[in-house]
Structures are given as structure tokens and as C-alpha cells.
């Protein structure tokens, strides 16, 4: 389930300092989410595509990851243009598409797809282990970083436990349906996951104590020095600033 396939690549983006990538992703995403002019949004879309290109990701994996948002986009195109009030644009039978409705849909589409592409290009290209290190160096509270890394570590373990429990249920003739027996069985399976998680937490805590843990988190910092870091950082910031200024002046 947790394949982290995109993190395996080797590109300009993969070689950048993860901190730089996290900061850039934040800056670009929020600037993008806050703008609304179509011309500017179009430029952001190009910007996002350029980042995906720089990360040398194949179209296949990127499209696969965009699937949830594409489904969402299709859904809003089916509903919003027709339910939104305002100046009619096209009439299809009894339905009327309104101009503001279509504009809203278009805006959401560009924004959501671009934000996700920025996310994919800059963040999905690192493992959560690396992301945790970057957040630590960006002064995110230790507890939160630890929580993130520990949760990440045990998802695979618990996922496997769940698969085995479900398999055991199916081997004993369990066929899920819409009935109380099925819901109760799923509740027991989920409950068992929580119980086992809690027992494991006790053991892991003990293991940490045995390795000298006393409440302070220490970590191996390995900042990757790369001449590209400042260049990339400056480039992305300058471009974003330009787009933000354009957005403001346009009004």
C-alpha cells in the first residue's frame, strides 16, 4: 500500500534539500489557493507542470495520483454549472448552465489540479522519513515530528495485521453484506486493530526505554548541501512573488 514509488526517482527536485522543497511547496500552494484571476491561475498551472517536469515523473504515475481529484472535478462539473445562479450561458434541454457557475468550476479545477501537482512534484517525491527530518529542521515541534514518523512506521505493520485478520474471517466463510453480523464483524476487526496497536505501543515504549530514551528526541541531521538549493529557492520565490503581485495589480 505504501509504495512511495515517486520517491525512488533521481532528478533535480529529488536532489534538492527536503527543507527547500517543503518551504517551496507551502509558498506556492498557498499563493495559488488564494488567487482567483484566470490569467494568473493559468500561469500557476504552467508553473506546476514545469515542477512535475523537473521532477521527471512519468505521466502514468502522476495521473494515477491525480485520479481522486479528477473524479472530484468531474463531479462538480456535473452539478455546479447548473445549480449556481447568475447569467445563463448555455441551455441544454431543461437545464441552464450559468456563467458564474462555469467560472467557479473552472477556477476550482485549475486550482485543485495545480495544487496537487505541486504537492506531487515537491513532496510526494520524498519518503515520509525524509519529510520528517525536513520538518524537524524547520523547527516543527519534536513531538509532532515524532508522531508523524512513528505513525508512518507502524501503518504497514498494522495494515498487514488487518489483512491477515480479514483473510482469517473470509477463510471461515465470512461474506460481507449489509447486515448486523457484518458490521459487528468489522467492528471486532477494527477493535482488534486498536487493541493490538495499544499493546504494541506498550512494548515499543519499553524498547525505547531500553535504548536510553529519556524524553528528548535526537536525530541524525544530514543537510544535503547542493548549490542548486539557493538557486531553486530564489527562483521559486521570485516567480511566486511575481504572480502574487500580478494578481493584486490586476484588480
Amino acid at each position: 500500500m505504501i509504495s512511495e514509488e515517486l520517491a525512488q526517482g533521481d532528478s533535480i527536485i529529488h536532489r534538492l534539500d527536503p527543507c527547500v522543497r517543503v518551504v517551496c511547496a507551502l509558498v506556492v500552494s498557498f499563493a495559488l489557493a488564494l488567487s482567483s484571476q484566470f490569467e494568473v491561475l493559468g500561469l500557476y498551472l504552467v508553473f506546476a507542470l514545469a515542477l512535475v517536469f523537473l521532477a521527471s515523473l512519468g505521466a502514468g504515475p502522476v495521473l494515477k495520483r491525480l485520479k481522486p481529484v479528477l473524479l472530484f472535478v468531474i463531479m462538480i462539473w456535473v452539478i455546479l454549472p447548473f445549480t449556481h445562479g447568475g447569467e445563463p450561458l448555455v441551455r441544454i434541454g431543461p437545464l441552464t448552465m450559468t456563467r458564474p457557475g462555469v467560472e467557479l468550476c473552472l477556477r476550482i479545477t485549475i486550482k485543485s489540479v495545480s495544487i496537487l501537482m505541486v504537492f506531487i512534484a515537491l513532496l510526494a517525491t520524498m519518503t515520509v522519513a525524509t519529510l520528517g527530518q525536513a520538518l524537524h529542521r524547520l523547527r516543527v515541534p519534536d513531538k509532532l515530528v515524532f508522531l508523524l514518523l512513528m505513525t508512518y512506521r507502524y501503518i504497514a505493520v498494522i495494515q498487514e495485521e488487518y489483512q491477515r485478520l480479514l483473510r482469517a474471517a473470509r477463510f471461515r466463510g465470512f461474506v460481507p453484506g449489509t447486515n448486523i453480523h457484518s458490521y459487528r464483524t468489522y467492528a471486532y476487526l477494527a477493535g482488534m486493530l486498536f487493541v493490538r496497536a495499544s499493546l504494541r505501543a506498550g512494548r515499543v515504549h519499553n524498547a525505547m526505554l531500553c535504548r536510553g530514551f529519556n524524553g528528548t528526541f535526537r536525530s541524525l541531521d544530514s543537510p544535503s548541501s547542493n548549490r542548486l538549493n539557493p538557486v531553486f529557492m530564489t527562483g521559486v520565490s521570485a516567480l511566486t512573488l511575481m504572480l502574487v503581485v500580478t494578481e493584486i495589480l490586476w484588480k
Partner: protein, 241 residues
């Protein structure tokens, strides 16, 4: 000669996304009354083989026949699944109901028995295995050996025609192992048992198979091999090639 109850022919299987054939043109026939042991290194595909028989791993090529009928779709597997009792490598994975009796009755309930009938059958099974006193115990509070026996009871409560046991002795002490040997020898059912312990296998099975390169090694080869080992290396652990 009667028909085999489980027949695998030319089965190939690789996990999705991997090119390694875990099972590679594997053939296997299990007849009624067979008591087969299986001993092979980690990662040689023993568990995968069991899962293929149960229809959980779908082979990329080859034919599976169970109880004389070819099975390939989920519906077909579902129909035979309850007649094959698979016991997992880790008993913890198999026990998810709050109490022992709930757990043993879970299978019979799924078979369509009424709550009372299921309860009766569960109790009967527990007393057959000599653990009737555990009936209302909370499953996750059981000891390792007890868990194993309850898992076996849960599987047997489905009244399967053949048992597949995946390392039933892992982590158990000799006391529980002995009990298992007695129980297995008293059962009137065909089974295939995976184990890393030669002594346990020879005590409960008639033949021991091995696996290599995704194929099952014939009985004879394995015998010879193990003989040689007994003489040369005695008690010391060593690697099988």
C-alpha cells in the same frame, strides 16, 4: 486410485509488481487420507502455496482442481473455502472475537447455522480438543499455546475435509507440541503441515516435501537429503541447499 482432493497443475505465481516467480510450474496432488509435511527455507513460497490453494493468490498460469472440480473464480473458491481449513502462521491473526466460544462459533454462523446450533458445535469442538474450560475466556488473554489450540478448534468447527497448517508449532514449547501431535494423530482428516521442525513433522506426517525454485521437490529426494544431514552434521543447525 481415487481422484486427488487438491490438485495443482503447472501453477505459476508472482506477486503483483514483482517479476520473481514465487511458484513456478508447480504441481501438487493431495489425496484423501494424505498426511503431508512441508519443510523449506523462509521465503520459498510455502505460505504463498497455501494461499493459492485457498484462492487468495490467483495464479498467473496453471490449473487448480479442488474436490475434483476446477476452481478459478472468486465464487468457486468461496464455495470450497469453508471445506478447507487453513490455520495461520500466527494464531493472533486468527482470533478476533471477544471470547473463545464466540470465535469458534464464528465459522459455523457464517455457514448458516442458527446461533444455538453454532454454539453447540463450538462447545463440542472445544471439549474434543480438551479445552472446554476456556469457553468464556477473552481470546487475547490466552497463552500462546492456548491460542494455537483455540485457532485449531475454530478451523475444525467448520468441519473441513482437509487441513492446511502453516507452522503450527512456531514459538511453542514441547508440552503444547506434544498435545498437538496427539490431536493431529487422532484426527481422521487429510492435512498438509508446514514446519521448520523435522521431529514434529515426522511425528505427524507420512511424507515430507520440500520446495525449491518455486517447485515442490519429490518425496524421495528429500528423504535422501535429510538422511545425509543426520549423519554428517548431527545436532548442529546448518543450511539446507
Amino acid at each position: 486410485m481415487t481422484n486427488p482432493i487438491i490438485k495443482l497443475e503447472n501453477i505459476c505465481f508472482a506477486y503483483p509488481g514483482s517479476t520473481v516467480k514465487v511458484l513456478d510450474s508447480l504441481d501438487l496432488e493431495v489425496y484423501a487420507g494424505d498426511r503431508i509435511g512441508m519443510m523449506a527455507p523462509n521465503g520459498s513460497g510455502k505460505t504463498t502455496l497455501f494461499h493459492t490453494i485457498m484462492g487468495l493468490c490467483r495464479p498467473d498460469a496453471g490449473k487448480i482442481e479442488i474436490f475434483g472440480r476446477p476452481v478459478s473464480t472468486e465464487q468457486e473458491f468461496q464455495a470450497v473455502r469453508s471445506k478447507i481449513g487453513l490455520m495461520f502462521q500466527d494464531a493472533d491473526d486468527q482470533l478476533f472475537c471477544p471470547t473463545v466460544v464466540d470465535d469458534v462459533a464464528f465459522g459455523p454462523l457464517n455457514l448458516g447455522l442458527s446461533a444455538d446450533e453454532a454454539l453447540d458445535r463450538a462447545r463440542e469442538m472445544l471439549s474434543t480438543l480438551g479445552i472446554a474450560d476456556l469457553e468464556t475466556t477473552i481470546t487475547h488473554r490466552l497463552s500462546g499455546g492456548q491460542k494455537r489450540l483455540v485457532a485449531l478448534a475454530s478451523v475444525l468447527a467448520m468441519e473441513p475435509r482437509v487441513l492446511l497448517l502453516d507452522e503450527p508449532t512456531a514459538g511453542l514449547d514441547n508440552g503444547v507440541k506434544d498435545k498437538l501431535v496427539k490431536i493431529m494423530n487422532s484426527l481422521d482428516i487429510s492435512y498438509v503441515v508446514i514446519s521448520h521442525e523435522f521431529n514434529f513433522l515426522t511425528a505427524i506426517t507420512d511424507r515430507v516435501f520440500s520446495m525449491e525454485n518455486g517447485k515442490i521437490l519429490a518425496d524421495e529426494e528429500v528423504r535422501v537429503h535429510q538422511h545425509e544431514h543426520m549423519h554428517k552434521l548431527g545436532n548442529h543447525p546448518h543450511k539446507h541447499h
